[in-house]
């Protein structure tokens, strides 16, 4: 079931295995020093912080750009800004980021310190003495008591339980809240741990990330035994229900599986950002052209004035004769060099054309957006107590453009809470049609409070089947029924946990709780209990059942676990009367082929098969049960094989599989079960809503075709009027013919078509060049359902769409088998469900329920996309309008890269004067309320049409920018034509005008004015005035006193007003006309929403 990432570690040969001498850390670490148990999750130390943090920060292109610009400015001929001023932007971002990193690292240091200084009793000089975790070494023997955390990965040697069982909670590791059993080997669990020397060698594999696998052997007292995953307890887990455990450390510190698994998921780039990068290239072209114009202008100007530049009072090429360097040129390097320098220095002046600060702004905005997504109470799942989680901070806006949703079925569409519904025993169908609770039975174990606590035991009992069980044991049917329930109770890995520890009366198993890794098994065991086959004890050697009041102790000789190749599991059990039986349960295809042949059997097989198809058509998950008696010879042969397989280090799983295949043959069919996998709340509505929003939902499941179709029908993904095309190819050639046939079939059908395809066909299609055919076929169908697909195939299908279209894909799943799909898709969503946390760890967003997807995409996705699209455009505009304004001025300053603005104002413009409003608007602005968005799912299509950000908008915006910058430049230019205005007054006018202009431009587009929006927009304007006043109050600056004189003149204020109105008028008129005649859906919906509210207040509304 779990994805195995590290198969290479499965069979460690002796050369790359690790030798651990038990209770002998010196010898263990002699040859090769194993990592100690000290953990460091922090990145920096006090000394390495500055260099390392700077190094990491300069990995970002943005910062390098800042650095290059700052460095250029330090060259004497290019010094456009003062030294400190030019370093300000770089220092500002570096400091902010460094403070953030430093704070995070300090917190990590603190938690590391706490963790490292915890103490655990370690066996030292004949006694367990406390030792700090950071000092624990590989090879030492450590004791952990109940409810304590486990300090490192250890092989169990003994536990407080005489049978060597320990229960652990693996919540921190995989998120599963149920208890897992771990065993100490029988050979070691009776060893005394006081004073005596314990010795032995463990040979285990090298540290790896796979938390579901461990292979090792232990040699002790010349005895060799095998160790597996069930013998190891991992760091991060907690000991529960067990007084104490003792184990030997095999992996410590950074090498523990928990630490190796703490890697972060790969980062993704949002589509909007990729598109934005294209436009950034255009902006670089603009920048280049502007600089080129300045350079060429400079060159021509110099050529024209070549004779005069030495005497020009405002140029003065050389030092005076009486000066320091008589007659030498002063900062003059000849025309070609001057041209080149003009180019470089104009890059410095125009640097903000490339909106580097935009990347930082976007990160902050996404952070704010994530905050609101996390805090959304509608996306809180009370059943799992989980909030929405944003694990990736790069792709919020992608949520607004999703075209394809790839969904897992089990645990995503369904709850993965299994309920036993139907049974077919010996060819007879028993369906629990009558709703009789099992409380009427003799062993009425379910009392009302227990029922509430353990919903899994809520099994409805079929009276017919119950009656059969109460007959005397004779007849094939009766025996089959007995074995049927024996198999249900015994052939599993479920652990019964008795909550009433002090009650010795096993007669009434009132408070039994079943813990298991598979919910199917839990449901089956609970069903067996309802029918009177109560599993109440399990150790590694035996299980104890209570069969209708009689206690039955069964020795488990061997257990062949479920694997994905055999698709079944089996136990070999010795009964008290020395009979040995194999009990098997598994998928229908895997068992029906290995049944004993015979006339009698065939009838039952046929009937069972019939029932199976019926069950799966109802959407039930089916399992087939079978059994056989083992003869003595068979038993002996099996025992030999099993012994060999379990102790071998290399190829153990292969050998075990062979052993299993040996016993799992010639089986006697007992019956089949049907388990209902309940749909999650709100799934049909969500799917319908997504469909209306133009999102295609594809279901990729590992389940059988029939089950998949029935679930698809019940969640309204498939509707009965849909035409179904089914592709079940068993060979390449068959697939080759099936695909074109399907394509022609589509053309003949009117109405929507559903494509159902199975994993087998996908193997042939995805590996060959049939991919594009499938793509065409699948995209022309409205629903695609893939069944029996392997994890990697899921990723393959996602890739099929992703590589061929520009459409955004989203994958949603809950299990480890969905990890590859989640990582492949543009957006990966994990469901924090029952199947562990791997999907969540790999995902970009995680939530509790499938139905939150509707809100996530239609509401938050829409908002984020609208906000981010506008943010990017606005930031382009904001910087470009400033640059163009500087550019026009340079044209009337003899191309000499003069800026009328003071150095500080130029630098503050994008950092302080105008940055906060865009961030606030990017986080808080909202075009439509969530109610409207959910009411009209079609509004989501605005994202598909790229309505908020596209090249057309970019170019319109650039045209508008040039107009606005011309107004900005020309109004003062002509108002103060032939006047006494000085350069700093002009600069001051421009500073104030441009800041007010861009803020009002933003204000015109704000759709929802909250307090913070007002505060940030008007606050920024006020702050700019304040800064200008402060800068003009420092006497050493040449601009001293400017604003005081300027503010007295009415012309100054009239110019500002004229600039703002004239600059924004075309925009306002275009916007109004557009609203009137080509109103977008969003605008209409917005009007409807707001006016409806107003009408509620003011009564019927005429026109406003």
């Amino acid at each position: 079931m779990q994805l195995n990432n590290h198969n290479t570690h499965n069979g460690p040969a002796s050369h790359n295995s690790r030798l651990v001498y038990i209770n002998n850390p010196q010898r263990t670490n002699e040859e090769y020093e194993f990592t100690g148990n000290k953990i460091t999750t922090s990145k920096y130390t006090i000394f390495s912080f500055l260099p390392k943090n700077l190094f990491i920060q300069f990995h970002r292109v943005a910062y390098v750009y800042f650095l290059v610009i700052a460095a250029l400015n330090q060259l004497p001929p290019l010094a456009v800004f003062g030294r400190t001023v030019s370093l300000f932007p770089l220092l500002f971002v570096l400091t902010v980021t460094a403070i953030k990193d430093g704070y995070e690292d300090w917190r990590r240091h603190r938690s590391d310190r706490n963790e490292n200084n915890k103490e655990s009793p370690v066996f030292q000089i004949g006694k367990f003495r406390p030792k700090r975790w950071k000092d624990i070494q590989v090879g030492e023997v450590v004791k952990v008591c109940a409810d304590e955390a486990i300090p490192c990965d250890m092989v169990l040697l003994g536990t407080s339980d005489p049978s060597g069982v320990a229960y652990i909670q693996t919540m921190n590791l995989d998120g599963e809240s149920n208890l897992k059993t771990r065993y100490a080997r029988q050979e070691t669990c009776f060893m005394p741990f006081d004073g005596d020397l314990i010795s032995g060698v463990i040979r285990c594999e090298q540290p790896n990330r796979n938390i579901y696998e461990f292979t090792a052997t232990m040699e002790m007292n010349a005895q060799k035994m095998s160790l597996s995953q069930s013998n190891i307890i991992l760091r991060g887990c907690q000991v529960k229900n067990t007084e104490w455990v003792v184990g030997v450390v095999v992996y410590a510190g950074q090498e523990t599986k928990a630490m190796l698994n703490s890697a972060v998921s790969p980062s993704k780039r949002s589509k909007l950002e990729q598109q934005m990068n294209k436009e950034t290239i255009w902006l670089s072209v603009f920048l280049f052209v502007l600089c080129l114009v300045v350079a060429i202008g400079m060159c021509l100007w110099l050529i024209r004035h070549e004779q005069q530049i030495d005497t020009l009072p405002y140029y003065r090429k050389s030092y005076s004769i009486k000066g320091k360097f008589p007659g030498k040129p002063y900062k003059y390097y000849g025309i070609p060099m001057e041209t080149f320098f003009a180019f470089l220095s104009s890059i410095i002046v125009f640097q903000i054309m490339i909106p580097i600060s935009l990347y930082i702004t976007m990160e902050l905005v996404r952070l704010g957006q994530s905050y609101f997504m996390i805090e959304d109470k509608h996306m809180y799942d009370s059943s799992t107590n989980s909030r929405f989680q944003c694990r990736s901070l790069n792709i919020n806006e992608d949520l607004g453009q999703i075209r394809y949703v790839f969904s897992d079925k089990t645990g995503t569409l369904t709850e993965n809470k299994m309920e036993f519904r139907k049974a077919s025993v010996f060819g007879k169908n028993y369906c629990n049609s009558s709703m009789v609770a099992c409380a009427t039975q003799d062993n009425a174990e379910i009392t009302e409070p227990a029922k509430g606590k353990n919903p899994k035991s809520d099994v409805i009992v079929d009276p017919g089947l119950m009656g059969l069980l109460h007959k005397e044991i004779d007849g094939d049917e009766r025996i089959a029924a007995h074995e049927f329930f024996l198999t249900l109770a015994a052939c599993n890995t479920v652990i019964p946990i008795n909550n009433q520890t002090n009650s010795i009366e096993t007669e009434l198993h009132q408070d039994l709780d079943y813990q298991g890794e598979s919910p199917d098994e839990q449901a089956l065991v609970a069903a067996a209990r309802a029918y009177g086959y109560i599993l109440f004890e399990r150790t590694s050697g035996h299980i104890a059942l209570d069969v209708n009041g009689k206690k039955l102790r069964l020795d488990v000789l061997g257990l062949h676990e479920f694997d994905s190749v055999r698709k079944r599991m089996s136990v070999v059990i010795r009964f008290p009367d020395n009979n040995v039986k194999v009990l098997v349960k598994g998928a229908d295809t895997s068992i029906l082929t290995i049944l004993r042949k015979g006339h009698d059997n065939d009838n039952i097989t046929l009937a069972t098969h019939h029932h199976l198809t019926e069950y799966s058509s109802l959407g039930l998950r089916t399992l087939v049960l079978a059994a056989k008696d083992l003869t003595n010879e068979e038993l002996e042969k099996w025992q030999l094989m099993y012994e060999d397989a379990t102790t071998s280090l290399a190829d153990r799983s292969l050998k075990l599989r062979e052993t299993a295949l040996f016993v799992e043959s010639n089986l006697r069919l007992l019956g089949a079960t049907g388990i209902e996998d309940k749909l999650q709340e709100g799934v049909p509505e969500t799917i319908e809503c997504l469909r209306q929003a133009g999102v295609k939902v594809w279901v990729l499941t590992g389940d059988k075709q029939e089950t998949a179709i029935s679930i698809a029908l019940s969640c309204k993904l498939l509707t009965p009027d849909m035409h179904q095309i089914i592709i079940n190819g068993t060979s390449e050639s068959e697939c080759k013919t099936l695909l074109p046939e399907a394509k022609t079939e589509i053309l003949t059908v009117d109405g929507s078509v559903a494509l159902i395809i199975d994993g087998n066909s996908l193997v042939y299609i995805l590996e060959r060049d049939l991919e594009s055919e499938l793509f065409e076929l699948a995209t022309s169908c409205s629903v695609v359902l893939c069944c029996r697909v392997a994890p990697l195939q899921k990723a393959g299908i996602v890739d099929l769409i992703k590589s061929r279209t520009d459409d955004m894909t989203l994958a949603i799943g809950d299990g480890a088998n969905d990890v590859s799909m989640i990582q492949m898709a543009d957006v990966g969503v994990g469901i924090c469900g029952q199947e562990g946390r791997q999907a969540v760890m790999a995902s970009d967003f995680a939530m509790g329920q499938f139905r939150f997807l509707r809100r996530l995409l239609l509401v938050h996705g829409h908002w984020n996309y609208q906000r981010m699209g506008y943010l990017v455009l606005y930031n382009f505009y904001r910087n470009a309008v400033f640059v163009f304004m500087l550019f026009w001025y340079i044209l009337c300053a003899a191309f000499s890269t003069t800026s009328a603005l003071t150095d500080w104002s130029s630098v503050f413009y994008s950092v302080i004067y105008t940055s906060l409003p865009t961030i606030i608007v990017g986080i808080l602005d909202k075009d439509l309320s969530h109610k409207t968005l959910l009411k009209y799912p079609k509004l989501y299509e605005a994202g598909h049409r790229h309505e908020s950000y596209n090249s057309f908008l970019f170019w319109i915006m650039m045209a508008d920018t040039i107009w606005q910058s011309l107004v900005l430049f020309c109004v003062p230019r002509f108002v103060y034509k032939e006047s006494t205005i000085d350069i700093w007054s002009m600069g001051s006018l421009w500073t104030v005008a441009v800041v007010i202009l861009v803020n009002i431009h933003l204000a015109m587009d704000v759709q929802r004015w909250v307090v913070y929006t007002h505060a940030s927009i008007w606050g920024s304007v006020a702050l700019t005035f304040a800064c200008v006043v402060v800068l003009d109050s420092i006497p050493v600056f040449p601009n001293y006193g400017t604003i005081y004189e300027l503010a007295k003149q009415p012309t100054y204020w009239l110019s500002i007003l004229l600039i703002i109105v004239a600059a924004l008028l075309p925009r306002f008129i275009t916007k109004s006309l557009h609203r009137m005649f080509w109103a977008s859906d969003i605008q209409i919906a917005r009007e409807a929403e707001i006016l409806r509210k107003k009408r509620l207040f003011y009564g019927p509304w005429k026109w406003r």
């Binding site: 020009l312 809180y380 909550n499 600056f1037 012309t1051 209409i1084 009007e1087 026109w1103």
Partner: protein, 349 residues
């Protein structure tokens, strides 16, 4: 489910509930803060455009009126004051310190001018905003004697070698060095028109920016290149108002600077005789020099642009408002009508 982990624990003896992670409700976190949600209804559009029109047209008329009331005399003299013999070689004339630079011209007052009448000089094609020029000044040095040696920014006019010792120029830099030095003497009906040169600089400049203890030093000693006027070494910088005005470098290549004020009124058709010293070299780069006499209003100088621009913007707004009204009357779209949503329109077709 919620506390399953606990019930699984040892004998449910402990009943610590897991802390609920349910988000705390607040209008802020649910993005439901009270908000003003403006919509661009035709009513709003028409109202706002009309408002602009009704604001701008009066302002425009008012400014235009104010500008028209300003009486301005502009007289270009750089060519007229060039003696006949130097017509071909103006640079030689202006550099010749022995040549007679005095020039007498008559100008006629077109309209009555009320005091105060401002006297400006105007230079054309003089890039006072050139980067090399703007940066070449020592602000600290201008302010206090202690920073006399801070001349790093002032190159190439930073220091002079006086008996082999490098000595700072006060005030240093190209701006000061190129100080304008034409002078004007006006006579009206044989009577000297007094030009008041006090108070022509900004108060902030004379009080704080230019030190009252700083005296000119080593200024304009260069014999090879004389940039402009000289300064009286006995007068502190804070009282050298011509310098202070000059040091406020102009924003545009054509600029005026205040020369002085006349406090008597001039009648229409008065003829003013200007005796000017044509010292300043604009000939070498083809610049122009003008003398300007101007009255003033609230709009400062004579400038029709502001008024015309306001009238134009106001006019366009009025025009657009009328168009919008017509459009609204003849082709209205009911606001917020769901039948206009794209998919509903498609379905209707």
């Amino acid at each position: 489910m919620n506390n399953q982990a606990v019930t699984n624990g040892i004998g449910s003896s402990r009943s610590t509930r897991r802390i609920s992670k349910k988000p705390q409700y607040s209008r802020f976190t649910q993005q439901e803060l009270p908000a003003w949600k403006p919509i661009l209804t035709p009513g709003w559009v028409i109202a706002s455009i009309l408002a602009i029109a009704f604001l701008f047209i009066p302002i425009g008329l008012f400014s235009l009126f104010a500008s028209k009331r300003v009486v301005e005399i502009v007289y270009r003299y750089d060519q007229d004051c060039l003696p006949e013999m130097y017509r071909g070689n103006a640079t030689a004339y202006i550099k010749n310190s022995d040549a007679n630079k005095t020039c007498i011209e008559n100008i006629t007052v077109p309209k009555r001018m009320d005091p105060p009448i401002y006297v400006y000089y105007q230079l054309d094609y003089f890039y006072q905003n050139h980067r090399r020029y703007v940066k070449s000044r020592g602000d600290k040095q201008l302010r206090s004697v202690g920073y006399e040696f801070l001349t790093k920014e002032c190159e190439p006019e930073a220091r002079v070698n006086k008996s082999k010792i490098s000595s700072p120029i006060v005030p240093c830099g190209l701006i000061a060095w190129s100080l304008f030095n034409d002078t004007y003497n006006l006579t009206l009906r044989e009577k000297v028109l007094n030009i008041n040169k006090k108070g022509i600089a900004w108060k902030s400049d004379t009080e704080d920016k230019f030190g009252s203890q700083v005296y000119p030093k080593n200024f304009q000693l260069g014999q090879d290149m004389i940039g402009g006027g000289k300064l009286n070494e006995k007068i502190p910088l804070s009282e050298q108002e011509d310098l202070i005005v000059w040091m406020r470098t102009a924003a545009l290549p054509t600029f005026r600077k205040l020369y002085g004020k006349i406090n008597t009124s001039l009648e229409a058709h008065d003829i003013i005789t200007v005796a000017l010293q044509n010292n300043y070299n604009t000939y070498s780069f083809g610049g122009q020099k003008k003398l300007v006499l101007s009255t003033t209003g609230w709009i400062d100088g004579k400038n029709d642009f502001l008024g015309i621009a306001y009238l134009m913007v106001g006019g366009i707004c009025l025009f657009m408002a009328l168009n919008f009204i017509l459009l609204y009357v003849f082709k209205p779209r009911p606001l917020g009508d769901p039948s206009y949503l794209s998919w509903n329109r498609k379905a209707a077709n």
